[in-house]
Subunit: 506 residues, 2 copies
């Protein structure tokens, strides 16, 4: 009896009545640790629950609950007659002196990641700074202050009341059927895209579409073309797939299909933004589009057409999509609701040549099975009931006005210092700087002043002839734009900011 | 004049007043096609808008709109004096006789996918049959008929009214902060997981967590262990990463860490379900857990602990997580709200050793940046306000009852034919079949009868000694279970179903 009691006393089980943790958990945890640290060895007998309870001055039930849990977890065993003891089958050599190092202090040795994982960090493309905060002149954001919150809430409430078991279960990885057909209709009418609902795959925004296509179409070492300058998110996804990414310069007609580099290596994949080149804003000419399609067919390349903000063309209708000109199923067309509604929805789409559907779908299922169902259904209603078309029309007017404000302010404060480009579409523009000015130094200075300004050269792989500033206006009120433009102008006057050192590529 | 007029007449522009498509679009489309097909060659003059309008019997404005669009797209050019003509800079050789093959008829030649893409199809793991439909005995589904729809709708409406610009923008890829801390708290209390909110990464369910970890931790050729039998979704993700997946047999204590195959090849990664092995339902013993942790440290392997449905243990508290025993930061812990709430939310989580955070986060950003924000925020409120804990308690009772019903029915109809296992936790059980019975033949027959029954052997990589049926009960009412069990029993009586041919592995 005494020995058993001693075992228990040796434990010195601390019991804190003030603590939030229930007493039985405290006893359980303390016993568990004593066993793991070898203070109680396999086979050691525990006092009866009654004895231990009185030792600790807790109710017997408290001890019983602790014992039950430890029995369930295999720390203790109980046999009729011999009472409760520490399980005999515990590997003694694994108990005691276990390294209590806190995870923070692991040494790097033997903590190996995949070589592949390095590729994810090669292209810096998201800065923590931007999470959540919305500050001028962050590019690529829609007018979140005009998000159709009321309409959305009404449609959402309807859906919330109609939630069925089937809609809560796993669903078609291709996306919510109503949404896919609504997207197909919208694209046929508004973008001249030639597709059936069955070719539409709902994705978690353009970024997932890029990753998905890169994984299904590219092996390490394959050549992929991107525009120079070009969208960093695309470069990051292509790089992650192990492809060799070649930057092809863009001129006033868009990607220079006939460019020298082209002859050198024929690409497996070509990423383009023909309607509104990002970030320069150039529209790819019809001649170039036809040349690009011919080249893709000859070199058996795939074309990723990213049509990210084409809805917002201020004069006339948007130029129709490259996909609509394609007769050979070489174009994978992608779009997003991040620029038309909100990035937080994480909803975009891929329009695929029919013979790619199965392969892309198989990859999607392994990656995350499907996009969440609920907001897909709400968005489907939003499109079907015509709210989307109305919202886009309203936003087009709004962005045009916000553009006029920004262009006016830049002209007022920075005439002669910057040359404004890419102003006929979208939610951002490029303010081109004089040759030799380091746009990164300027951008850094602006960020220090609480402005979100991207250097044009940060979208280049090779140093550009002329740098520039990429300025988003879509997400900001006239007042915000006016004051932000003033603050930006002030930065130009800071000593050293207009330094002549050459811009360095990303 | 006549020649120009002829040009226009040659076009034979069809105008259909009945069509939904506006007239100017019809004219625009028809002209575009004529140019692309070479019927109208570069430089060819168009009649004046007035003349063409009267030719076609439409308003002049209709023609002007069509011209404007085609000018914007570069099909036409207009010079003062010389009127409108087909753009001269179009590459003649690319116009005319363009292959009008419909995408459906592409021949496979030169339509090359990545070698990597084949890996996505190697492990069949989602059957279209299951999309949306919820039928007995589909495994791994919670009681969708008891989804807390009203509470969820109330919380959602609050959030819908509070939607801010910041919450609509891009957000922290690690997940909604309130949700991450709520998850960390829940795991500490309910699962004995040792973590800070900063170690929590919100994922699109367990599947994305598996894909994410596989990409960051495994290179092609690396060895990864899974349980035999084991979860197919994990096998699919590991296979997609190019790893060599080795099945390690499971016995009554869980993964056989000391198994012969272990000596052969030391793994870079080990996937386990210690709390409730899928599908057998075994709980890994404490001894095995300690051995597994030691082996991981010695062989410098990562352990993926998938804790998919541990909340639903019917006797006592759930066994605490392997992660809580780990002193060396070798365990990546993953869980999901698919089993506690609904798969359609696509919300799960990863708890990472601190030194893996940056690498995993970098990959997540390239893959899809982040999970949608809205339902993350609602779920955070659901956890914070205690609804989750209450729901889990309610469901535990419910599942226990539904289990009792199914076990009773199986006993009533199939006593002696099946041996029921894995009944103390979760939302499914295994009905073991006599040696040599082909469980796949049985499952096929059941599916033909409108039941969702999985063969145990379909979770094996090598043919098992004994097959079985994996039967989900969590998602089905007593009535559904009773009638489904009867139908299942009837299938056993069908001639040939209990054939003695050996089960074939997946």
């Amino acid at each position: 009896m005494s020995r058993r009691a001693n075992d228990a006393r040796l434990l010195m089980i601390p019991v804190d009545r003030a603590a939030a943790e229930p007493l039985h958990r405290q006893v359980c945890e303390s016993l568990r640790q004593s066993i793991l640290e070898g203070k109680l060895s396999p086979g050691a007998r525990l006092p009866s629950s009654r004895a231990l309870a009185s030792d600790l001055g807790v109710s017997r039930n408290t001890v019983l609950l602790a014992f039950e849990q430890l029995l369930a977890e295999g720390y203790l065993s109980a046999r009729v007659g011999s009472g409760t003891q520490v399980a005999r089958n515990l590997p003694v050599e694994l108990l005691g002196n276990r390294d209590p190092a806190s995870p923070a202090t692991f040494n790097g040795a033997g903590r190996q990641l995949s070589k592949r994982s390095e590729r994810f960090t090669q292209v810096p493309f998201v800065t923590r700074r931007l999470w959540g905060a919305v500050r001028p002149f962050q590019a690529g954001l829609p007018a979140l202050d005009h998000f159709p919150a009321r309409t959305w809430a009404t449609l959402a409430s309807k859906r919330l009341r109609r939630r069925t078991s089937d809609s809560l279960s796993y669903h078609d990885p291709r996306g919510w059927p109503d949404l896919r057909s609504a997207i197909a209709e919208h694209l046929a009418v508004a973008r001249g895209v030639d597709c059936e609902p069955d070719q539409v795959l709902v994705t978690a925004g353009t970024q997932q579409a890029l990753d998905l296509c890169s994984r299904v179409l590219l092996d390490p070492g394959d050549v992929a073309w991107i525009e120079e300058p070009g969208y960093t998110g695309a470069r990051a996804a292509l790089t992650a797939s192990g492809a060799r990414v070649l930057p092809i310069p863009v001129d006033t007609e868009g990607l220079q299909v006939g460019h020298a580099e082209v002859a050198a290596e024929s690409p497996r994949l070509i990423y383009v933004t023909p309607t509104h080149q990002f970030p320069t804003g150039v529209t790819m000419s019809l001649a170039r589009r036809l040349e690009l399609l011919r080249l893709a067919e000859r070199s058996q390349s795939w074309i990723l057409e990213d049509d990210y903000d084409s809805e917002f063309r201020f004069e006339g209708s948007p130029v129709t999509a490259l996909q609509g000109l394609d007769r050979n199923g070489r174009v994978l067309y992608m779009g997003s609701f991040s620029k038309t509604l909100a990035p937080s929805l994480r909803l975009g789409f891929l329009v695929l040549p029919p013979d790619l559907l199965d392969a892309v779908l198989a990859a999607r299922v392994v990656m995350d099975h499907q996009s969440p169902t609920f907001e897909q259904a709400v968005l489907a209603d939003f499109l079907r009931e015509g709210h989307f078309a109305r919202h886009v029309r309203r936003m087009r007017k709004l962005y045009r006005q916000r553009r006029d404000v920004l262009v006016g302010e830049l002209d007022k404060h920075l005439a002669g210092l910057v040359e404004v480009e890419a102003t006929d579409t979208g939610v951002h523009l490029v303010a081109r700087l004089p040759r030799g000015i380091n746009d990164r130094a300027l951008a850094r200075a602006a960020v220090e002043q609480g402005l979100e300004v991207e250097a044009l050269s940060s979208y280049h792989m090779h140093a550009p002839e002329r740098g520039g500033l990429v300025l988003g206006y879509g997400a900001f009120t006239d007042e915000q734009l006016v004051s932000a433009a003033e603050r930006l102008a002030a930065i130009f006057d800071q000593p050293g900011v207009l330094s002549r050192e050459r811009a360095v590529p990303a």
